[in-house]
Amino acid sequence: MPEDLNVLIDAAIDRHKSVPGGLLPLLHDIQDRVGYVPETAVPAIAAALNLSRAEVHGVISFYHHFRSNPAGRHVVQVCRAEACQSVGAEDTLESLREALGIDLHQTTKDGAFTLEPIYCLGNCACGPSVMIDGELRGRVAAGAVSALLSEVGGRP
């Protein structure tokens, strides 16, 4: 793994290795900085926290939030839960699929966008809700999708 990534991960491990129940905070720390949890970080994490690699893998794969591979430059998370469904979230999702030419859990070929489902953003009176790069957007009806994408990523 590249030198700087190594340094970054070691520093994150140092910050959390003596924290009780520190594995989740550590994984968050790494993903917040790197964008994902690199496969190559697992042995070092396991060694520092006195866990097996399988245990660390098990935790990373259990939680939907953690990713083992880099995402696109922009991450679009569309709420699929009931309250958003009641105001057209499925149409919003369909528009996103069409505009980006990808399905859920995929990244566009140019690496610009990753499309993901999310289950409630606590914005249920202002749906359909979408989170883009960690920023919450409300009332994203199907017709508002293309404007939103071009605002974020300079795309039609």
């Binding site: 989740l24 935790v59 939680y63 953690f66 309250a83 009641s86 409630c120 606590g122 249920c124 009332r139």
Partner: protein, 519 residues
């Protein structure tokens, strides 16, 4: 003197452009050489009016909404700093019928104060409960909570006083207070609104729980979908530390309490208390067998007070005003108030805090103003994704844990999701199964495999393949899940499915009569 203008920092308000509005107000004021102080408050909870801007005038607070950045110059032309007339002017929000008829105990300060200002918090009644608790013994605090009738607001409605007494009575050198801020149910955001709009009340409630039980360390397990709440909590905790509310010497009492925020990672099941504890310990969020209950053996095997955000946030006012004051609200065994969230296809969505006893019909029509689409309301789902679908014929149901349970529904965390007559209940039933399959912790087969089978069966029903046979299969599957699941995810996913089948068989392509009889 500068003009005080409130623009919410609430995530919903921000999702509709509150930051741009705040920036536009700042810029416009500068251009007009008007001195303004912008306070980022919580939301008043009238979500259809967000972003709601309030200006402090000599005649009180005057609200405008929903405001966009483009409206700001015209609002200044209309004399917004003095509360001047404009089509967006709402007036004093506390006179608005949606607000005026509420009973805001838990949400007393939300939207009114600067959420992270300790001075503002104290000026509006904050810390009085904590000060009272510091003068009381642990047993008396627990007795006050028990006497108030407070039951857990996270879903299971377990009496909070009994839980705290168990922790108090279990000897241990280390105990914990854990706040469940995982708020995963669709149709709920009251936890989020408290954490963003009055985070210090949560800090105070958890502190009182610590004093009541002898716990000195608290954790807030916050879902990763709530970055705004995380920021507000961290600011509030830092302010509380600076003012000697948290730390080694709580308000000079010699008592100690520390508090830390821990972020979840997008797993619905981690809202279940034992899964949450596993997650806090750094493990996969697999549900634990009970007993032992967390109050006896919780975080790291120690006695742990584990409550929902709203439960903790209801505690300070009980200590401040007394158990009787709180218990005087409500009906039957449901005492006090519940922050109810009106969501989905509803005209006036938002937060309505009312004493128990308010009916669904009042909420949907008097507060909510009917559906957003203007079409008839077909059904509502109350209590999250595991709650039954309630048809119009049951809208006179009062909010009361027992009354809801009697018809197979659930108050849960107080979320109401509204569907108009275009909703397809078979698709929603399919979604319930799919959600269970995605979020299952994997420990029991009926939940993990049953839900996957459930999706397949629903697909065949929707496609019209052997509908009657598949419906029988679906009913059997639901039965297996109901009886063979360790926790409510597998055990209650059948509720929305069965209720959809029972009340709306035509959406499944099934005759009404035959099914109504069978269900």
């Amino acid at each position: 003197m500068s003009v005080r203008i409130f623009v919410p920092r609430d995530a919903s308000a921000r999702s509709l452009g509150a930051d741009r509005v705040a920036a536009a107000i700042q810029a416009e004021a500068r251009a007009r050489a008007i001195d303004v102080e912008i306070v980022r408050n919580g939301s008043r909870g009238l979500m259809w009016l967000e972003p709601l801007v309030e200006v402090v005038t000599s005649a009180g607070r005057v609200a405008y909404g929903p405001v966009t950045a483009a409206d700001v110059p015209a609002l200044f032309d209309a004399g917004l700093p003095a509360g001047g007339p404009h089509p967006l002017r709402v007036g004093d929000i506390e006179d608005h019928p949606y607000f005026a008829k509420q009973e805001r105990l838990c949400f007393a300060r939300v939207g009114i104060t600067d959420p992270v200002s300790v001075a503002d918090y104290e000026a509006h009644g904050g810390l009085r409960g904590l000060r009272r608790a510091l003068e009381m013994g642990s047993a008396d605090i627990v007795a006050a909570i028990a006497g108030s009738g407070l039951r857990g607001r996270g879903g299971a409605a377990f009496p909070t006083g009994i839980k705290w007494k168990t922790v108090l009575d279990t000897p241990s050198t280390q105990k914990y207070v854990v706040c469940n801020a995982d708020e995963g149910d669709s149709g709920t955001f009251s936890d989020r609104m408290i954490m963003e709009g009055d985070p210090l009340v949560l800090v105070e409630g958890m502190l009182i729980a610590g004093l009541a039980t002898g716990a000195t360390q608290g954790y807030i397990y916050l879902r990763s979908e709530y970055p705004d709440a995380e920021r507000a909590l961290l600011e509030a905790i830092a302010a509380a530390r600076k003012h000697g509310i948290l730390g080694d010497d709580v308000l000079g009492s010699g008592r100690r309490f520390e508090l830390e925020v821990r972020r979840g990672a997008g797993a619905y099941i981690c809202g279940e208390e034992t899964s949450l504890l596993e997650s806090l310990e750094g493990k996969r969020g697999v549900v634990r067998f009970k007993p032992p209950v967390p109050a006896v053996s919780g975080l790291f095997g120690r006695p742990t007070v584990l409550n929902n955000v709203i439960t903790f946030a209801s505690v300070p006012i009980i200590l401040d005003r007394g158990a009787d004051f709180y218990r005087d609200y409500g009906m039957g065994r449901s005492r006090g108030t519940l922050p109810i969230q009106l969501t989905g296809n509803i005209r006036h969505g938002g937060l309505v805090e009312k004493a128990f006893g308010v009916t669904l019909r009042e909420l949907l029509h008097d507060y909510g103003g009917g559906s957003a689409s203007g079409r008839p309301i077909k059904a509502v789902q109350v209590g999250g994704p595991l709650g039954a679908y309630v048809p119009e014929s049951q809208f006179d149901l009062p909010f009361d844990y027992e009354a809801f349970a009697a018809v197979g529904a659930m108050v849960g965390h107080g979320g109401i999701v509204v569907f108009d007559d275009t909703a397809n209940m078979a698709r929603l039933a399919r979604y319930a199964m799919e959600f269970c399959a995605i979020e299952s912790c994997g420990k029991c087969t009926p939940c993990r495999i049953g839900s996957t089978r459930g999706v397949e069966v629903m697909d065949r029903i929707i496609a019209g393949t052997d509908r009657a046979g598949q419906a029988d299969l679906l009913r059997e599957l639901c039965d297996t899940m109901l009886h063979g699941s360790l926790c409510a995810l597998g055990g209650m996913t059948p509720f929305p499915v069965q209720s959809a089948l029972k009340h709306f068989p035509e959406d499944f392509g099934l005759p009404r009569s035959a099914l109504a009889a069978a269900a």
